[in-house]
């Protein structure tokens, strides 16, 4: 998920371009004979060469970390799993501004209609805006067609909306989970420009996605009942966010069956 070409060496090259090859270490001067110096002479000696960070000449704060990917600005973890005639969708609850935690009750999983939920990881403002636009489109669809959108249709809608912004994208990775015709569970994910990826078992996204892949792959088994699915997805989520510094502060899990929706808040390592 790192943005291509992210330059983490920006602080090192203190000189201009032609000196780039020699700027990675301090200047190598030939060793000088050691001469005793008086305090006056010491003061007049030029200060030792240091690798100074670039002076910031504006009021903007210098970031404490090297250039961060926009997807890692807020931190997120979202996962969805398929069970027997049900599905579960879960997310972490942390909202951060880089390394600082700003909220511990941030909602990333949103309802579209009774049997369709979308989880949006990535940049929080884009997640909220995208959710508002999708609800708008879905409400108009409901009024025109007098029915709810099927999850597959909704996924295609999200995909085309994201691709519309191909050259100035929403920095979000959505996870869509719903019960389709005959209450058949449906999950899918896509990248920030709308490349859909359907799955039969589970989908993950967010900064903790690599840990989530590992945890889900080992903990998942097909045709789990709602209670067992809840246990599995909660364990997968909590163990993965523990390995990721940018997500965590508890979990929010939704289990959706044809007859009911269960919402649960998890308390994990609050850090």
């Amino acid at each position: 998920q790192a943005a291509p070409g992210s330059n983490s060496r920006g602080l090192r090259s203190g000189g201009t371009e032609p000196n780039a090859s020699s700027s990675s270490c301090s200047a190598r001067s030939p060793p000088r004979p050691h001469k005793p110096t008086s305090p006056d002479q010491q003061r007049r000696r030029p200060p030792p060469l240091l690798l100074l960070p670039p002076q910031s000449n504006s009021a903007a704060p210098v970031p404490a970390t090297p250039a961060m990917s926009i997807f890692e600005y807020n931190g997120s973890a979202v996962v969805a799993m398929v069970g027997k005639n049900c599905f579960a969708i879960a997310s972490d609850r942390r909202l951060g501004v880089q390394l600082q935690t700003v909220a511990t009750d941030f909602q990333r999983v949103f309802k579209i209609h009774g049997k369709l939920y979308i989880g949006l990881s990535g940049l929080a403002s884009d997640a909220q805006t995208l959710y508002q636009r999708l609800v708008f489109k879905h409400k108009l669809y409901q009024l025109r067609e007098e029915r709810d959108m099927k999850p597959e249709t909704f996924a295609s809608l999200v995909s085309s909306m994201l691709y519309e912004k191909r050259f100035g994208p929403y920095f979000c990775q959505p996870i869509i989970a719903g019960l389709g015709q005959d209450d058949e569970p449906f999950i899918c994910t896509m990248d920030c420009i709308g490349a859909k990826e359907l799955a039969k078992d589970f989908v993950v996204s967010g900064t903790a996605s690599e840990s989530l892949y590992g945890a889900c792959e080992s903990m998942y088994k097909p045709n789990m009942e709602p209670e067992e699915l809840f246990e599995t997805i909660s364990q997968a989520l909590l163990s993965s966010v523990d390995r990721d510094c940018l997500s965590g502060w508890g979990g929010y899990v939704l289990i959706v069956t044809p007859t009911e929706v269960q919402e649960r808040i998890l308390k994990g390592r609050m850090d």
């Binding site: 025109r144 067609e145 099927k150 597959e152 249709t153 295609s156 085309s160």
Partner: protein, 198 residues
Amino acid sequence: WKLKTANGVVIATEKKLPSILVDETSVQKIQSLTPNIGVVYSGMGPDFRVLVRKSRKQAQQYYRLYKETIPVTQLVRETAAVMQEFTQSGGVRPFGVSLLIAGYDDNGPQLYQVDPSGSYFSWKASAMGKNVSNAKTFLEKRYTEDMELDDAIHTAILTLKEGYEGQISANNIEIGVIRADREFKYVYKVNYAVFTAT
């Protein structure tokens, strides 16, 4: 002339050619808008062609957005909106056609009439054009809700015969059907006994 049955829809029209020298295969009054929606018109042919083109594009735009075939009601609504636009915009005239749109989607077989004003109605059986009042009276007597599709085709041809001067044959009518397989098809071969018997 159009009939909706429990398991399909049939539309039929007479094809009046200006002279016997005209190549009748080049004239197509019944067209498909999507694989599961067909349309027939009464009125000006060129206006019909423009509407067919616009409707087909709208159906494809819907598919691009939702990856789902457009429901019949939505296509009818959008076509009617185009027709209404032309009654209120400057420098254009209303379309000189009335359309009968037949389709089969998740809500079953459906039949809609769209007028030049842009108003649309759903029908179980309808007729337009020449001898419309006679045809409708005939349909009112003959139509039943649970008729089979083949009976419906028969009834449609009989309705056409009622208003047609001269002999009907396979060359001067067009018939289109949609069955439960949701595919709009032209009917090319009909049992000729239908034409000659009654």
